[in-house]
């Protein structure tokens, strides 16, 4: 009898704990604009803070303790944003007196003190332009100096850290896998895309919000597909879709993992089980670059491109709110506490 009561108490406590987690889950969204990040409260969908910042923004990554957001700007600056104070606390330039360097791909390293970047570099010598081959580099976030680097293929534009950042996948025409676990970085494998006529634009990275899955859409002359990278295992999955392709800049998986939402001029729902397209809903106001969802999966956010953020009800797919942002934007990231 006592054992039964004890078990009942344990189950009750666990259920209460799960319920309180749901109640306490709070979403905050960060709209990456131009010269500004705007903070959106996920419970009210209201803009609650503006963070002035230098430049037009591109990549972003949250620190592992969720206290800081790192964003790249003008392809050569890295800003560190304190999310408790909503202000930029540090900015570094990856260039130096010898080379201008541009960032096409950014991922924080697990040590919290360095980051992996894909760098394109240029300089002039005797009046002539010199462009160096792109390099995957690990840089010190204190001053931007390069700790180590390795040459990677031209046209690489995005980085994905896998297996606790022991490997970096460099995404461009193909996916090049780099082992960074030893002192010397090594290219160990390549996942072919270009030879398969895939056309890919991997500029929006919601891996953190997407349950550790990096996901991007691709196009062939015949179809659209989804490529996903499980950042825990490193496994790459190709999901070709049936039917005429829709147009999408970015995609994101639903919380139940059964659907994928895609956005450009329309919000498109993709059924992962049947690999087919579902409803296609025009977005009020036109094109958007970025997509995100609330942590409970009940709301879908599309933003960027122009200066609006549209909130959709995920069940009815009806727009329930349009936020007018101060600037045009690039991305819309979510942090859940």
């Amino acid at each position: 009898m006592n054992r039964k009561i004890t078990n009942l108490l344990v189950i009750t406590i666990i259920l209460l704990g799960m319920g309180s987690q749901d109640t306490l889950a709070k979403d905050t969204f960060y709209y990456l604009g131009h010269g500004m990040i705007q903070v959106v409260d996920g419970s009210t969908d209201a803009i609650v803070a503006d963070i002035p910042i230098d430049g037009w923004l591109r990549e972003s990554d949250f620190s592992s303790d969720n206290k800081f957001l790192y964003v790249t700007a003008k392809r050569h600056l890295i800003h560190k944003v304190n999310l408790a104070e909503n202000r930029v606390v540090k900015t570094i330039d990856v260039g130096d007196s010898q080379w201008e360097r541009f960032i096409y791909g950014f991922d924080l390293a697990p040590d919290g003190k360095s980051a992996f970047v894909n760098l394109l570099s240029r300089t002039t010598r005797q009046g002539e332009v010199v462009v160096a081959a792109p390099r995957l580099a690990q840089i010190d976030l204190e001053d931007g100096h390069i700790l180590r680097s390795i040459e990677v293929p031209w046209s690489s534009v995005s980085l994905v850290s896998v297996k606790n950042s022991s490997h970096i996948y460099v995404i461009g025409k193909d996916i090049v896998m780099v082992d960074v676990s030893d002192d010397e970085m090594k290219i160990i494998d390549r996942y072919s895309m270009f030879e398969k006529k895939w056309n890919i634009l991997p500029l929006w990275d919601n891996t953190k919000e997407n349950g550790g899955i990096f996901m991007v859409n691709y196009y062939t002359p015949e179809l659209m597909g989804l490529i996903s990278i499980d950042t825990n295992s490193g496994e790459i999955t190709d999901t070709p879709l049936d039917g005429p392709p829709v147009f999408a800049y970015s995609v994101m998986r639903s919380v139940d993992k059964k659907k994928v939402y895609a956005v450009m001029d329309e919000l498109t729902v993709i059924d992962l089980e049947t690999r087919s397209y579902g409803p296609i809903i025009p977005v009020p106001g036109g094109t958007n670059y970025a997509i995100n969802i609330s942590s409970d999966g009940k709301k879908i956010y599309v933003a960027g491109g122009g200066s609006s953020t549209t909130v959709f009800d995920a069940a009815s797919l009806k727009p329930i709110k349009v936020l007018k942002m101060k600037t045009d934007g690039m991305d819309f990231r979510r942090l859940t506490f």
């Binding site: 010269g35 025009p282 036109g286 600037t327």
Partner: protein, 110 residues
């Protein structure tokens, strides 16, 4: 008889350019020619891809409206002839015009 050059290089820079021309090899190739290649220069990627595909039904063509794609095209220098080149000549173009639909009248660039 040696053919005379129509233009003579007179200073060091001109002579440097002349020497480049003398030794110039193939510098331009069609993108479709093998091996698979993409242009290298202002931009690292140039997948005009789906943005330029006309559609049979609404919405037809590119981004709706084109202003919504202005900053995306400008910052990374996708279309440097049409919009400000954000990597070299107009790195701070966004300060003039952070919201294109609202601020386009004040945008100035060469």
């Amino acid at each position: 008889m040696k053919k005379k050059r129509p233009i003579q290089a007179l200073n060091a820079k001109a002579r440097a350019i002349q020497s480049l021309l003398d030794g110039e090899g193939k510098t331009v190739a069609a993108l479709q020619q093998g091996p698979p290649a993409m242009p290298v220069g202002c931009t690292t990627i140039f997948d005009t891809g789906w943005e330029t595909n006309p559609r049979p039904t609404y919405p037809v063509g590119n981004c709706q409206s084109s202003a919504k794609d202005f900053h995306g095209c400008a910052g990374d220098c996708w279309w440097p002839a049409q919009v400000p080149d954000g990597l070299t000549n107009h790195q701070d173009f966004d300060k003039q015009c952070p919201n294109v639909a609202r601020d386009w009248r004040v945008l100035k660039y060469d």
